[in-house]
Structures are given as C-alpha cells and as structure tokens.
C-alpha cells in the first residue's frame, strides 16, 4: 500500500545528508566529549562549533547566541522560566497568546500557579494575534512577550516583526517560538526583533531530541537546568554530539533550499486545498489562507469525528493529524481551533495536513481519490 505522510509539522524524517553527517559521531571515530582536552574531545568541539554556526546562519544570528537544548519544548520552557527568573525584580507579568504550543501554554500556566500574572491573548477567527491587543496588555510589570512565529495547527504566520518592535519600544524581552517557521519561511532574528527564539531539529529533517534557543547578546535570562559548564553554563549536560551535528547540517540545508522547496510544496498544498473543496461538501479551511506557511492545510469536515477520520485515512496509508501531535489520541478538541471561535464539534472534526520534501503530485492525487469516500462513509454512519 502507498504511504502518504502528511504530518510534517509533527515530525520529519532525518534526511540522508543529515544522517551522513551524524554517523561519525555514532561510531568509534568521533565519539569524544567536547569538553575534554584530548584530541577526541577537540575534534568533537570543532564539529559542535561548526554546527552552531550553521544554525546561527539559518536565523541571521551570531554563533555565540545559539544554545543547544534537548528540543523545542526545553527551549520554550527556558525562554519563559529563564526570563522571569532573571527579571524577578523588574516585574511578574508575561504576555503570550492562546494559540501557543503546549510547551509555552503549560509553562505559562505553571508560572500563573506560581503567582505570576499571565495574559493569554485572543486571536481573530483567522487565527491571528492582533498587535493592538498586545499594546493594551502591556503594563509596567511586563517582563516578557512570547508569541509563536507560525502556529503548528493552522500554519498562520503571526505579525512577529510588529510585536517585536512593540516589545523593543517598551524594553520588554521578546520571545518567539519559531519551531514551525524555520525552514518554511525566512526567519531573521533582527528583522523579527526577537531577543529569544526557539527551534527544534526534528521539524526540519534533523534528528529528534535536539533544538536550540537563540539568546540575543545582552538579554537577561537564567538557565533552568544546573550542572556542568557546557553551553557557557546556560545548558549543562554532556552535549548530544550526533544530534548537534545533524541539527547543524539540517539547518544548513533548510537555509539553502527554502525558496525552491516551498514553492514546490505550495503548489501541491494548493492543489490539495482546491481538490478537497471541490470533491467534499461541507468542509471549511481553518485559518487564514494568505498568512500561512506553504506546508499547511487544516480542514474541518462537518459531522465527522477526527479520530475516526484519521484512523480511516491511516488504513489507506495516509498519515495526518488532528491538533498537535501530542494531544491527538486524547479527546479534547484543539485549543487553537477553539480560540479561533470554531465550534467544538467542528474542531473535533478537523484534520491537519502538513506537506514536506517527500510529497509528490501523486501523493496528492492519491489523497484526493480516497478522502471523499472516507468522509462520505463516516458521514453515513454519523448520528448527525
């Protein structure tokens, strides 16, 4: 059976070029600990610094501003918890949006429980944060604004540049979760006015278990983990060398191929959107069509429940997801769709398709051939 993977926002396969770069560090040749002074260690250290430079290049940063973490989640946690810890004297208010990934949302909720004030901004029905709302939310106590660059469920691109400018104007640290934007749209920390920015390796065809936080020089932030002096004391623990090197290579390739690859994917994605609209009645595209990354299409199929739709698609070899990967399997409709004002039942019948390097024209044809029947079948069973 054909397998059509349309869940690239959940995770991506490691590219063969990336694996090639990693392999020496998974073998006897180059397994050293980069903190060691002997040759094995020095070689590892050199490779690590090269990778750091590649990641920095992807976002227009300096290598010294990149700190490797275990992934996007840790980077997000550090952005929030590290910033409030470093600014305790200044204030205890942070602003974020209601459509962030759980790595931000749940950390913000934790801080709220600890007595911090947290503003969760609403979004428009297109899934966009409004700069005006942030203006209104800022107080003298505000120490951090964190708004994601691209939403993981509906792919909407937030007005980060403007939000960043506003934060700068008020002397407030600005973080953006760029896990879903790097490799999909140009990301430049200076253009975006970002002080802190999170990236995850496995979303850009790098390995899982590695990511980074960009920390603009001079930004006040504390580490959240304690131990050895790695990552200039910002992130202790023996460095994940294969992960770091793979992440570096993935970043390098993502930067190089961004334009051509996204153009190709956009035309496939648009074909998918048009095809679904044409062939399936009572569907609705969730999220703004224009302010949206090229890989994302998110549809609400009325009177169809998401899990049974996903499972039926899987039986045809089509992999997609409802909401963020970590909450599918659970019974809650997506917090993002609800925040956009989509009724719970429609939110529950929503599916996210996210395209990637491996997808072809034939993949899309295959989906358009099979999906209508699947939806029709489930609707024929449905109690509504």
């Amino acid at each position: 059976m054909r397998r059509v993977y349309l869940d690239h926002s959940a995770t991506t396969p490691v590219r063969s070029e990336v694996l090639d770069a990693m392999l020496p560090f998974l073998k006897e040749d180059a397994f050293g600990n980069p903190s060691s002074i002997y040759s094995y260690g020095r070689e590892a250290k050199k490779a690590m610094e090269e990778a750091r430079e590649k990641v920095a290049n992807l976002i227009g940063a300096e290598p010294e501003e990149i700190f490797f973490t275990s992934g996007g989640t840790e980077a997000d946690n550090m952005a929030l918890m590290g910033t409030v810890a470093a600014n305790e004297k200044k204030g205890r208010h942070i602003i974020t949006s209601s459509i962030e990934h759980h790595a931000i949302l749940n950390t913000a909720q934790y801080l709220k429980k600890k007595g911090f004030k947290v503003t969760f901004l609403p979004v428009t029905k297109e899934g966009l944060v409004q700069v005006e709302d942030i203006k209104k939310a800022i107080t003298d106590e505000t120490v951090l604004i964190s708004v994601m660059h691209v939403n993981n469920e509906v792919g909407t691109i937030q007005p980060i540049k403007e939000i960043g400018a506003l934060a700068k104007e008020h002397g407030i640290t600005f973080h953006t979760d760029a896990v879903q934007s790097v490799g999909k749209i140009p990301v430049n920390v200076d253009d975006l006015n970002a002080d802190l920015l999170s990236i995850s390796g496995h979303k850009i065809y790098g390995p899982k278990g590695i990511g980074c936080i960009y920390i603009r020089k001079g930004t006040k932030i504390n580490p959240i983990l304690f131990g050895g002096a790695q990552e200039r004391t910002y992130r202790p623990g023996t460095e994940n060398m294969p992960g770091i090197v793979g992440f570096g290579r993935a970043a390098e390739l993502a930067a190089k191929e961004l334009d051509s690859e996204m153009e190709r994917i956009k035309s496939l994605r648009d074909k998918l959107i048009e095809g679904i609209k044409e062939r399936i009645p009572d569907v609705q595209l969730n999220g703004d069509l224009n302010n949206r990354v090229a890989i994302n299409a998110n549809f609400a199929f009325s009177n169809v429940e998401g899990e049974s739709l996903l499972l039926s698609m899987d039986m045809k070899g089509i992999c997609a997801s409802s909401g963020s990967a970590c909450s599918s399997g659970s019974v809650n409709p997506s917090h993002v769709l609800l925040a956009m004002g989509i009724p719970p039942k429609l939110a529950e019948g929503s599916v996210r398709f996210t395209l990637g390097r491996d997808n072809t024209e034939e993949d899309i044809d295959y989906v358009l051939e099979n999906l209508p029947q699947i939806v029709e079948h489930l609707r024929s069973i449905s109690a509504f």
């Binding site: 009177n303 169809v304 429940e305 998401g306 899990e307 049974s308 499972l311 039926s312 039986m315 399997g329 659970s330 019974v331 409709p333 719970p344 039942k345 529950e348 024929s380 069973i381 449905s382 109690a383 509504f384």
Partner: protein, 125 residues
Amino acid sequence: MYSEKVMDHFTNPRNVGEMKDANGVGEIGSPVCGDTTRVYIKVKDNIIEDIKFKTYGCSAAIASSSMLTEMVKGKTLEEALEVTDEAVAEALDGLPPQKLHCSNMAASALHKAIEDYQNKNRKAS
C-alpha cells in the same frame, strides 16, 4: 492500539442506519467528548427483532455500537439489558484504557431505546 475486532467493526460496522418503523429509539451524547450514538430497535414479542445505530464518534465508539447491536439482536429485552459495556469491550477483545468510556455510550443508548419502547408500550396497553 486497537484490536483486530475493533478495526473490523469500525471499518465494516454491522447494523448501521436509521429505521423508519422502529418502536424504540434512544440517543446518548457523551459528556466527555461530544460523541453521540442513536440506537433504533424493533421489538416484537419482547424480542429485539431488528436493531440499527448511527454514531458520531471515534473508532472505538463506532465499533462498540456495531458490536452491541450484534450482541443483542434476537435477544429478549431482559437479556439485552444485561449486556454491559464491559461485555461489549470484552467482545471487542478489549479497548485502550482512555477509550473505555466509549463502550459505555452504546449500551446506554440501547437502554434508552428499550425504555422508550416500554414507555410507548405502556401507554398503548
């Protein structure tokens, strides 16, 4: 994740549909996830002669409905009322823990349909 039985009943659900001449109908919506099951029965001489269902819900909910209808078809009302959600889940070779509540829905909808039949019947007699 799901047993083969669940997958079978999910993909080829038995007794799906509406029933024009049902003499009992029961519907239940899960408070947990908004899933909804409607069960139609045709009872004659205290026996469930025919049964149909419609379910909006996850695969476990659909499979449970399908399995339940098979289990009670041809049974007396008393026998049918004894089929528990655990029995449905068991007949499906088990359900994942977080999906156990789905088998609940099917049995509850059936109970409501039987109640509906009995109410109507009482009035009629």
